[in-house]
Amino acid sequence: MLADVLAPLAQGRRSDTAAEVTCAHCGLPVLGGERTDGPQFCCNGCASVFAILRESGLEQYYTRREELGAEKRAASASGKHYDELDQPEFERLFCRRGEDGHLATELFLENVHCGACVWLVEKVSTVLAGVTETRLDLSRSVVRVSWDPAKVKLSRIARFLDSLGYPGHPLQGLDKEAIRRREDRRLLIKMGIAGACAGNAMLFAVTLYCGAFSGMEESYVDLFRWGSVLVALPSILWCATLFYRGAFAAVRTFTPHMDLPISLGIVIGSVSGIVNTLHAQGEIFFDTITMLVFLLLVGRWLQQRQQRLADAAADHLQALAPSTARVVNDDGSVREVPVETVAFGALVEARAGEHIAVDGIVVEGNSSIDVSLLTGESVPVEVGPSALVHAGAVNLSAPIRIRVQKTGHETRLAQLVAAVAEAANRRAPMVILANRLSGYFVATVLTVAALTVVFTWHQGSSVAIGRAVALLVVTCPCALGLATPLAVSAAIGRAAHAGLMVKGGEFLEALARPGLIVFDKTGTLTQGKLSLVEFVGDVSVQPYIAAAESGSAHPIARALCAAMVTRGITAESMKETLGGGVTALVAGKKVVVGSLSHVEHDAVVPSELRTRGDELGARALTPVFIAVDGDVCAVAGIGDPVRPEARESLEKLRSLGHRVSILSGDQPAVVHAVAAQIGVAFVDVIGGATPEGKLAFIEEHAKRGAVFMVGDGVNDAAALSAATVGIAVRGGAEASLAAADVFATKSGLQPLVELFEGSRRTLRVIRGNLTRSLVYNLSVGALAATGFVGPLLAALLMPVSSIGVITASYRSRTFGARK
């Protein structure tokens, strides 16, 4: 993103400087040209990583990165101390102790993205003494560290990784991860065994087919039949149990599901095969059946693997939420500990700019806190002693001390998330188009096969059964069974590369159909951050404002500072009035910046500026008045600006046939002002909605058609899970990502457009696959039923449609098409 912004700048400068100067670490242009001798850097972060790599003798990283052709990224170390990782509580909760006294744990690393990162992270064990192993799992961004606690501390290892630009976080939800891993392994074993069975059954089948042409002694035919039964049994009795269970569920709930006809096919085929083997006559179908089981399991496994990655990504993002709290001991000393170990009644400190990690009551300090995560309200709330604060809020201006009432799973934040996860689990599963279609298809094939036997029986039983077998073999619904899982898993994989985590194929199908898209305003349509939108009055006072506000952590102050330069002027003294503004002495002048009432204390506001302030207020901006030496000379409008691409993106979504609405917890005036600025014809614009109100709105509309809810706060989470598809946009509320069906790891509206367009392309691929395999199966099936295709030719033709489907799925550009 930064590169996009900087690239035109660099091109503009190219004529000035002889050659473009690029950063030695990340390859971004260095603004201002060559500064010193030697390698050039775009920022201090890159410079320090380069220096560390050089000191540690790890410069091979750069050549490796070139060889792999990996994307270059700017380094960003967080500079944290990681002292909490050395606490005994951390060891008890997160570490395992090996027999040799070494400790092992897993950390989630930010920013790892390529093969060179793998190399670099794994080299840490050779650079730091006492580290026995660092192994990185790139797809999960998790590093497994084992170390000798006598020689090195975990905080030292984490600090080193951090200094390389990979901040680490303790992994949350280890139990869930273990269960997931067990399930994955089980499915993989089933797939492998089904594959072995299918391969061997195929060998026996080919032998039998050949024997049928060249003549084989009956005793050997018998041997091969029994051999087929033997190798097919594990596949039928164990590997395929998954489908039987699905079939039972389908029968119980009266929903059409592909598992039902698949199970029927497997059971009928197996029983008749075994009966024929016992009678030593007729065909056995074990090659077809085992191959069907194997290919279907391959499809399931591929799909599950992609969905797991999305699930794991959501869990890991939760690891980014604050996992430590600063506990104040009785003697007044402050200690950072894992939040799990904070007890009821303890005293916890939250500094300005930090997340509050517990639910509790403020006992000391006055501050303003940002509760947008919990309520969706974008304006900070003032808190003081005896005020109740909740985990997930961000402390903005001054340190406060909180008496702990609830921690961990008992906090309001955790309960909101849990309630949402429960609601999502209760929701009825969607039935995929392909499942319905394949179900009917397989039922039709079985009927036609039975009819073929009945109608050709007069030509002799062997002819009749031969034709039926050819029909079953040639129309083996492998391609049909694979059509959706393959297309979906390929699409989910591509989407993940484009920054969109999709948790299931059914959501892609739902997103491809037109529906109502409901936006939460904060953070999705707007930047989600206050900034200066308009400045009316004397521009020359701006350096004074910046200097006066530079000491304040209030969001309005930060917005003003970001938009103005101090030009070297500093404030001599500064006093902040909570909920009012600041009064400062800057270069000998008294500067007052704040609300109308705050400024009116020592200056008279001219009526002209007062009306301009009212106008700004009417546009849902917060007016901030500025007085210098008792003379009110300017008014600034602070607000949450609309994203520049909002209008274009929404028009694109509308052109895809979707309707759009805004549903926000913000003040109605603010919401309407935003809607007016975007200027797109919205179906509904609703402000001041409570979480319950949002839920009711979504449920009401979901009765009438597909509703896609786009939100970013935990307050949206209930609505997210009630919608047909809940889409979360990353931006602070990591916890809500677990509740969403789809989430975008990049902010902004562009990923959303990509999501809807990509889903549509994916559905097109699925439809293409289904059509192709249906046409193929029906035409060849007709030939088989009429006797033009024998069993052997049928077995040879069978893979053709499967290969067609596989190629179509992997070659199609569903997501990230414009790259």
């Binding site: 410069e59 799992d137 790139l138 072995a196 693997r305």
Partner: protein, 63 residues
């Protein structure tokens, strides 16, 4: 051709051995991560870290 009565069970036994090996590999976690090992393979040479200036074409240093 009566040898088939011995050879086929023997072949099946060998196949079963391979299946057992596969199950062991999965259970010991060797197939949990399918993406990183192919990249790790490229980085596992035992050569001393060397100083490489960026931009020079020493991407494939001679041993």
């Amino acid at each position: 051709m009566t040898i088939l009565y011995v050879l086929i069970p023997l072949a099946l036994l060998l196949g079963a051995g391979a299946v057992v090996a596969f199950v062991w590999a999965v259970d010991s976690g060797q197939l949990d991560d399918m993406d990183t090992p192919p990249l790790r393979m490229l980085g596992d040479e035992d050569k001393a870290p060397e100083r490489v200036e960026r931009g020079t074409k020493s991407a494939h240093p001679s041993p």
